[in-house]
């Protein structure tokens, strides 16, 4: 394990099991995203997709601590969050392919995946929109006497949206059980952090609402999880909201196909140094986990993906008239 990591304790016993579980989850996300990149390049996915490769530790480190009944709101770059919350590959891939069997029956696509049963209250195509929704879900759980919490992800770009401010302010006034996770990956679309944020760290915004804020390096998923643990426990125990900033790096373009001319090649080369999976693999090896055991995570993910992709490919597209459904609980006539 690299020096200076906040989780630089021995990986053994329960901690090792945890590390293995986190590794499994991160690899599932990585392989999923890589498969999506292939499918997109092959022209199998309509529209556009935003991938979270390199950022797996954020979704996994935080969401590992959640229960099924807890809530999340994800972003336009939300596959990882949604997988970490337990979403199945097949309806995700089917949705990306626009199939009738997709999570949204082909109506939403990559930016709108919901799994209400798993507490996934949507990826979102509008920056800042998920944050107030998460505050409401957290408040709602408490009002209904449940100790469920909500976690909401947003990037440095979204941090410039007024909605994020309104959500944090409201959460603080309500002491709502919500954790704001600022997933800082260096970019917002095609421009870097500094274009959007005038301070070195978004964690400075916690004090603006009187809520605790922590920064953690996304290189180390165990450190992310440790940092998140306090935030989530606090929320669950009635201590109110908090802000967790995770520093990470976007590996791919903003969208698949983005030529990234605006990006310094040196910085792109830095990717290997900040790979949270490689970082964890080192630690697992040091703890004596055999290579084939480590490699098996990818095999399991790939096997699942193979089935999901093959099934989704064979699945029907929605019938055109299905476009008329699901506007209202009971249709309004005429629908055309």
């Amino acid at each position: 394990m690299s020096a200076g990591s906040s989780s630089a304790t021995a990986l053994d016993g329960a901690r090792l099991d945890l590390a293995l579980a986190l590794h499994e989850q991160m690899v599932r996300i990585r392989r999923f995203e890589e498969r999506v990149a292939e499918l997109f390049a092959a022209g199998e996915l309509p529209g556009f997709v935003h991938l979270s490769i390199g950022q797996e530790s954020v979704a996994v480190g935080v969401i590992d601590l959640l229960r099924e009944s807890d809530y999340i709101t994800a972003t336009h770059r939300g596959h990882g969050h949604i997988i970490a919350k337990g979403a199945r590959f097949h309806p995700m891939i089917a949705e990306l392919m626009g199939r009738a069997t997709g999570y949204c029956r082909g109506k939403g696509g990559s930016m709108h995946i919901f799994d209400v049963g798993l507490g996934v209250l949507g990826a979102n195509g509008i920056l800042g929109a998920g944050q107030p929704i998460a505050v409401g879900a957290a408040f709602s759980a408490r009002l209904q006497g449940r100790d469920d919490v909500a976690v909401t992800f947003f990037g440095e770009g979204a941090s410039a949206q007024g909605a994020v401010h309104e959500a944090m302010n409201l959460a603080a006034v309500w002491r709502a059980p919500v954790v704001f996770v600022a997933e800082v990956n260096g970019f917002a679309e095609l421009t870097p952090y500094d274009v959007h944020v005038p301070i070195p760290s978004l964690a400075a915004r916690g004090a603006a609402y009187g809520i605790p804020a922590t920064v953690v390096d996304g290189l180390d998923v165990l450190a992310v999880r440790d940092a998140a643990e306090g935030c989530i426990a606090r929320a669950r125990e009635g201590g109110g909201p908090s802000l967790l900033e995770v520093r990470t790096l976007r590996w791919h373009g903003h969208y698949e196909g983005d030529p990234q001319r605006y990006r310094d090649p040196a910085e792109l080369a830095r990717r290997a140094d900040v790979d949270p999976i490689a970082h964890l693999v080192l630690a697992l090896r040091e703890a004596g986990v055999p290579d084939d055991r480590i490699a098996s995570a990818a095999e399991r993910a790939d096997a699942d993906l193979d089935v999901a992709v093959a099934t989704a490919r064979a699945d029907p597209l929605p019938a055109p008239e299905d476009a008329l459904d699901h506007v209202y609980a009971t249709p309004i006539e005429p629908r055309r």
């Binding site: 809530y71 109506k107 919901f114 209400v116 107030p132 009002l143 409201l170």
Partner: protein, 326 residues
């Protein structure tokens, strides 16, 4: 039947539904301890507690979005936006979130949200406090919109809105707050969303109106009656769904139509009514359809300017009379 004022009908509908369904909550600026800037929520926080009736920070986008989150997770939130003019600051949560969530999620998620707001001119409130947004909101698939013009309708429609499983916007009119009407004291009485009401029968010309336009149309109908012209006044009551059938049916009897509106005509609800009536009742129309609407300007402040802006009953009557007599 007890007499009820328009603003008190809001309070009564809210109180009854908060009592009836423990999953309802009410959020808004000044609606808790102060009892609402129109006295429309007086006593509710006392009865239902500050957990269910909440004064919130003055950030509409935040608390409306939070209400969407509540609606997605087992509550039936009711949100007050105190002036319709503030919809533009929170529009995203209405149109990109509340309206679209059911559809985007492939039918997985429901947003049983009610938004109550107060709009309309006539009170010299100026260009940023006299707006209404029924055409914008009514044209957004996924939203329902009602525009009650009487205390009884406020009560019946607001209750239905709260019980509905989709986001419903209840657009109230500030100029009608003190209007009185006898309303049955029956907590089970609701009005279906999406039905127009004939406020006055007549055979010579149909006047279609909604919200604050209704009293103007009725007053014009009185003037017309004095001149021997019987106008039928149709109150749309609901903008989305829009009860075109009732209007078409009326026009098939009267053969003439005037739309009366307090809001800008351009691409408004009147335009939609004209387009549908022209299509469905083309052969029954004996004259072009006229819209009596404000000029294409913001709502001015000073009384003579605002009076000029809003359609006067005399303008409506003149327009209807011309249709009937030429």
């Amino acid at each position: 039947m007890p007499e009820l004022k328009y603003y008190a009908a809001v309070q009564q509908a809210l109180a009854e539904e908060l009592r009836r369904d423990p999953s309802t909550i009410l959020l808004g600026e000044d609606i808790g301890a102060p009892g609402g800037i129109y006295a429309e929520t007086r006593g509710l926080q006392d009865e239902f507690g500050a957990e269910r009736v909440l004064d919130v920070p003055a950030g509409e986008l935040g608390f409306l979005g939070a209400a969407v989150g509540c609606a997605l997770t087992g509550l039936r939130p009711i949100v007050e936006i105190s002036f319709a003019d503030f919809f533009p600051v929170c529009m995203d949560q209405l149109v990109n979130q509340a309206a679209k969530v059911r559809y985007m999620s492939g039918g997985q998620a429901s947003v049983p949200l009610t938004v109550v707001s107060f709009g309309g001119g006539g009170l010299n409130a100026g260009p940023q406090h006299s707006g209404t947004y029924e055409a914008w909101l009514g044209s957004m698939p996924g939203l329902k919109v009602v525009t009650p013009a009487t205390p009884g309708d406020v009560k019946g429609l607001l209750k239905s809105a709260i019980r509905d499983d989709d986001p419903v916007i209840v657009l109230l009119h500030k100029g009608l707050l003190q209007m009185r009407e006898d309303v049955p004291d029956d907590g089970d009485r609701t009005l279906p969303l999406g039905r127009a009401e004939i406020r006055r029968p007549g055979e010579h010309v149909t006047l279609v109106a909604w919200s604050g336009g209704v009293r103007r149309a009725l007053s014009a109908a009185d003037d017309l009656a004095a001149r021997g012209i019987e106008a039928e006044v149709v109150d749309l009551r609901s903008i989305q769904p829009l009860d075109v059938a009732t209007v078409v049916d009326s026009v098939c009897r009267t053969h003439r139509l005037v739309v009366v509106q307090e809001t800008i005509g351009f691409s408004g609800i009147g335009a939609e009514v004209v387009a549908e009536v022209t299509r469905q009742a083309f052969d029954y129309l004996d004259a072009p359809i006229e819209r009596v609407a404000p000029p294409f300007t913001p709502v001015p402040f000073s009384p003579p300017l605002e009076r000029f802006h809003l359609p006067e009953p005399a303008d409506i009557a003149r327009c209807a009379e011309e249709l009937v007599t030429t």
